[in-house]
Amino acid sequence: MAVSVDDAVSAGPVRDHTPPARRFGGRGRAVLEVALLTVLAVVMLFPVLWMVETSIKENRDVYAIPAKFFDFKVTVDHFKDVFVSSSGGRSGLSVSFLNSVVVAGVSTVLATVLGVPAAWAYSRFALKAKKDQLFFILSTRFMPPVVVVIPIFLMYRQVGLIDTQLGLILIYTAFNVPFTIWMMKGFVDEVPAEYEDAAMLDGYTRLQAFWKFTLPLLVPGIAATAVFALIFSWNEFVFAIFLTSSDDVRTAPPAIAGLIGGTTVDWGLVAASSVVFAVPVLVFAYLVRRHLVAGVTLGAVRR
């Protein structure tokens, strides 16, 4: 499939000229829609529900056959096990959660700090071969991580970044900067450049004009972009499992995956740590839900 940058760059509103469909009667269509959505919701949500249930079941009920849906004993032991090790100190999982917070947080901050000014520059200045540059930046996201992980592993080994948090932070930043530039460029394009022109005539420098007048208008866009970047780094698995090995560097996704295997699997612990892992993403997505919609439908919505 050919990807045209022109199509991707244009921020014009998408207009749908097809008249409203009248193929089904309004009512029959609504029923069909609800039915389909219900099926989809069940398929999507059942594993989540099962995970939450398993995380609060006693071990006996976890392994019960037939499976118990409702009449099980509720316990928080699994959640305790996530954070406290059996010998009393901090558990290995809690360390990996902390690592995830550090790696995802720092890489998101870096990507934002680098990507937002770059997006502003791409939006405001006439550059040589701007479209080609933007396409090149985007193209770094075309390859799935698993394709590039071996070369990166070899390079990291040369420079001693294997099994370090810095290594993970750098690679996540590298993946998030292109995304940040593309998403933020859309938001910057929406802010009239004339505010900055007016500010410069008022007596501010170009950077002051950006900082004082444009940046505050970009905050919602930055929040939405940062949440996307945060979710990417938080969820990332392939780089994490290839590039880190020791328990005190490892992030949560490979650590949780590591719980499965061996002779017995403590499914209660797996479920509880998965719940703990999912909560921050849910909270963030909830906090910026309005901007997420704006971000996802970027360019299609005009004020």
Binding site: E194, D197, A198, A199, L201, G203, Y204, R206, L217
Partner: protein, 358 residues
Amino acid sequence: MGTVSVHGLCKSFGEVQALDGVTLDVPDGAFFVVLGPSGAGKTTTLRAIAGLEKLDAGSVHLDERDATGDTPAARDLAMVFQSYALYPRHTAYENIASPLRARRCSSSEVAAAVEQVSSLLHIERLLQRRPAQLSGGEMQRVALARALVRRPRAFLMDEPLTNLDLKLRVEMRTELTRIHRSLGGTFVYVTNDQVEALSMADQVAVLKEGKVQQVGTPTEVYERPANQWVAGFVGSPRISLLACHVEGDRLVGAEGWTLPRPRWTTVEDGRPLLLGVRAEDLSVEQRGNASLSGELYGLEPLGDRTVVDVRVGTKILKVKARPTVTGTPGERLLVTVDLDRAHLFDADTGLALSEAGR
């Protein structure tokens, strides 16, 4: 002091040549109007003066000093943008105060200056509102106040009245002239409205497709248009243009009419010309021997006068008449031409013929 002069400005956006050698000299304290249709390059000219546009060629001198490479802040100018460009998160007060804050004035100075300029523009009660809570006319006043709050070298105004309704526009025209007179200062004022240009300007520069067509006082531009295009753009109703040539002491029209040759011209026989006559220099009353015969095409009553459309051959002439004039379409009538006030243009170049004889 506050002179602005630009020399040979060139700027192209891709294929579009927005400015093609624009040269202007704005004297200190002038109300200088740049007049031209939409797309003529007026905004680009102002942005070039302000330092917001990187030029392909040309120079900008402010107070006789080369400022071509200076940043906008260093040029010490104020600008009213066509879109007003009021900061959306700031109140009107903060918008107006912005140029002073950027230049680190004390807050008592700021308060005094904002108070003064807002009473000048009658916007005291709007100061705590944000741009979204202002009407178009109010935003325009706030934008003007932001420019007038300081005493810069020159004020640049980009069609500040275009987005207002007619009544407000006429009011603001007088008010801006009053402000210019009371404040002094150099105004470079851009508009596409020839009435605005004629009524407000000390000097007008007419711009078309990035080229200056004519610079002069409003009277000069109106009475002695440098070319056919300026004659057509300035003045309402539009000047009537008729193809013709000179034969001896007669002016022979392509539509078959003849008129006496205007005394002031010495043009050679046979050269293709355009005769340009303004509506007020045509009359449907019998007033002399220079007349064209045509038929009544339509009447346009405007209250204080009526514009009579007269068809001569395939051309429609706009004739100014008294409001009491009547007639039925198709009716034959004679149009008297005041040849002493008519214009002749070279049909090929469009340039006005020398009027040295007048």
